[in-house]
């Protein structure tokens, strides 16, 4: 039962706000805004599941997203390149960043925390270089706009990207050999290596996946916003980590997993949305995120103390 506690809490949050602010909370607009706003953060978070499952940190995802947001917007405004080609180019940039991270972490042996932190700063420089330190705005092609703003079955299209991504990552981690090896790499790299797992390869691929997913999320955000804010990317980092760690207490307890992360993203967003609609102060949002994470993971760790399978942090 414990492993679904997040869903109950989510239900409880919905119930509270439904009673508190029924006229604004329980509307299709709120539902749609929630689904759409969180799709980008959700994708980044679900992508992050992969390196964390393999036991490495990727702190560069926020800046990868920030960079492709600016770069995709710039290309749309200044060149006539087809939208699909732009998307592919941006994902390729993500792959390149992931490879560079992996080179530092796997080949040279730099701690992943430090390597990806350095990468973040390098990408920040690129963001400022491409944008010339100014917000980029201009006319977007309809094709590009629809990529981020279309509505399917009453829900925004990006929500379905997130759903698809979660499904794929869940499936790979749970139902393929690679997934099992990835978790073994994250659990005990020395033992995994001695069981014949090529741990280096899994770390490399995981860093490529998280960066490529973040790059794709950047394109989606560009299409959704219709302009490129220079500061939109990096703040996605903390909510993504929050969701992954909170999510590791759900569905597959004690194990970082994709569906748990998805539930966590929406649990947190619903709470924040409800608070906003109830007219509370702005700082309440961050407080809510922080307290929920600390409590959820704290309780999970406390209850499992000295017990296994364990290890919430990679």
């Amino acid at each position: 039962m414990d492993r679904l506690s997040g869903i109950y809490i989510w239900g409880l949050i919905i119930l509270i706000f439904a009673l508190w602010v029924p006229e604004t909370f329980l509307t299709t607009t709120t539902l749609r805004v929630l689904a759409s706003d969180q799709a980008v953060t959700g994708m980044v978070a679900v992508g992050l599941v992969v390196p964390l499952a393999c036991g490495v940190f990727d702190l560069s995802i926020g800046h990868v997203l920030g960079f492709t947001l600016v770069a995709a917007t710039w290309m749309n405004v200044n060149t006539g390149i087809n939208m699909a080609v732009v998307t592919l180019m941006m994902v390729a940039i993500g792959v390149a960043v992931g490879l560079a991270n992996a080179l530092l972490v796997v080949k040279i042996g730099v701690n992943s925390f430090i390597a990806t932190l350095a990468m973040s700063s390098i990408l920040q420089a690129f963001i400022l270089f491409v944008s010339n330190n100014r917000q980029i705005a201009g006319e977007f092609s309809d094709e590009f706009k629809s990529f981020g703003r279309n509505v399917v079955l009453g829900l925004p299209q990006p929500f379905f990207y997130l759903l698809g991504l979660t499904l794929i990552i869940w499936f790979v981690l749970e139902y393929t050999r690679s997934g099992r090896y990835a978790y073994a790499t994250g659990g005990n790299p020395a033992a995994a290596r001695l069981a014949g797992v090529r741990t280096d390869r899994f770390v490399t691929v995981s860093l490529i996946v998280s960066a490529a997913v973040a790059a794709f999320a950047g394109v989606v955000l560009a299409a959704k916003l219709g302009s490129a804010s220079l500061t939109a990317g990096p703040p996605k980092l903390i909510p993504a980590y929050t969701a992954v760690f909170l999510g590791s207490t759900q569905i597959k307890r004690g194990r970082i997993n994709a569906w748990g992360t998805l539930v966590a993203v929406y649990l947190l967003a619903t709470g924040v949305k409800g608070l906003q609609l109830s007219g509370t102060e702005v700082w309440v949002d961050d407080l809510f995120n922080g307290v929920t994470l600390a409590l959820a993971v704290g309780i999970a760790v406390y209850r499992r103390r000295g017990d296994s399978p364990g290890g919430l942090a990679p």
């Binding site: 978790y183 005990n188 290596r193 069981a195």
Partner: protein, 514 residues
Amino acid sequence: MTDLVRAGAAVTVAGGESLLEVRGVSKAFGPTEALVDVDFDVRAGEIHALVGQNGSGKSTLVKILAGVYDPDGGSIAAEGSEFDPRRPGEARLRGLRFVHQDLGLVDSLDVVENLALGRGYDVRFPRRISWRHERHRTRAALAELGYDLDVRSLVGSLRASERSGIAIARALDGWESAARLLVLDEPTASLPEAEVARLFDVIRTIRARGVGVIYVSHHLDEVLDLADRVTILRDGARVGTFAADDLDHDRMVELIVGRGSVIAGGEAETPGAPAEYEPSLVVEDLSGTVLRGVSLQVGAGEVVGVAGLTGSGREELGPALFGAAGRSGSVSVRGNPVPAGRPDLAVAAGLGFVPADRKSLGLVASMVVRENVTLADLRPYLRGGILRHRKERSDVDAWLGMLDVRPRNQTLGTMRLSGGNQQKVLLARWLRIQPRVLVLDEPTQGVDVGAKAEIHRRITDAARDGAGVLVCSTDSAELVRVCDRVLVMQRGGIGAELLGRDISEERIDRLCLS
């Protein structure tokens, strides 16, 4: 009574006042009696060696003195008054200092900082550390032991004997009280031979200052060279305490091994008829940290044991073969070469490896039993690239049943199992893939009697099914039980080989010590 014993002992060897007296100390772990009614004493200005095989009780005795274990009975006195090592700070206050085998140094700190660990710094107003004063103090402490080194260098960058020296200097450094008694636990285990002499000079310097030294070792030549008195333990009991001058190498081996011995040199005279095996594992000229040019073969269906003291290369052989530790030389399984540094290719070539340290190198703690069993090969459960959990579950259940893993619950966190059951899980991982060669390092370490018998049975079965098995173990009885042939490692090479009926605990132990 106590006075009589003390007086009697004093006659045997001239020495200073008594620093430590252990009387009738016993300790049992469950049904295993680790120490039985042991007497032991140390006097000022003497080096008293404590020797015995693995499991003879010497480390248990040291741990009782260090306050790690609570003795079941007996008394300990330091300088004439009762001494309870379990009381925090007591050992230090009474002048007892320990240098454990791993030295307990922090590689990323410099010499000054390492010496200050535990003791702390002298501070000036306002709580400022005077580094100049600390450096001076450190240099003085090291100079007393005859060391002259740059105290600002990181400990990780120093030579092995210098590191030992620092650990000793730290132990002797006066905190609340001056050091009276120094306990050195296997101080030469990780020391290259050339640096041993240097360490001995240091130990003699300490003795000259009137400090008593307890020297724990199983290198008999060192003991004869260094010690004034020698206490020999066997199976937890004291065989006797002797003046080192009254002992020689052979006599000591006799006393350590016991069983009233017949063979002189320890060489096997009548080798049993060597059985014919097709070679499964061929190792040529394998070298590593300690290993030097080791060549060996293991036949299909043969169980070969590897014995040897810690530091002889025994503990390095398994990891080196498998490519987990750095090495040179060639390893091949049925003609397929196994490259260094690629355990995945070793597995693909048909090599399985159960490491000695199952917690950090064997099992993945965050995974359940089922996932740990199947980690080495998931191919049987794949259909179209998709893992079939049902097939995996039924297969693992069968293996848990076969090896009698209790509880037979594959969804349990692996670390919730007992040591013996954890080891069976690890064994199941490798037996399941039917390796051509299975290398086991200390396969029954920390395992209960029932599980031990089961593991031995499985080793024999695997060989009967055609696998070549290499068992590296410090448990001679285990080697006698399962092996067709036993290799004894000495100083990085294979020193001797025992075949068939010539394999006995006594022979193995003797050859290890020679």
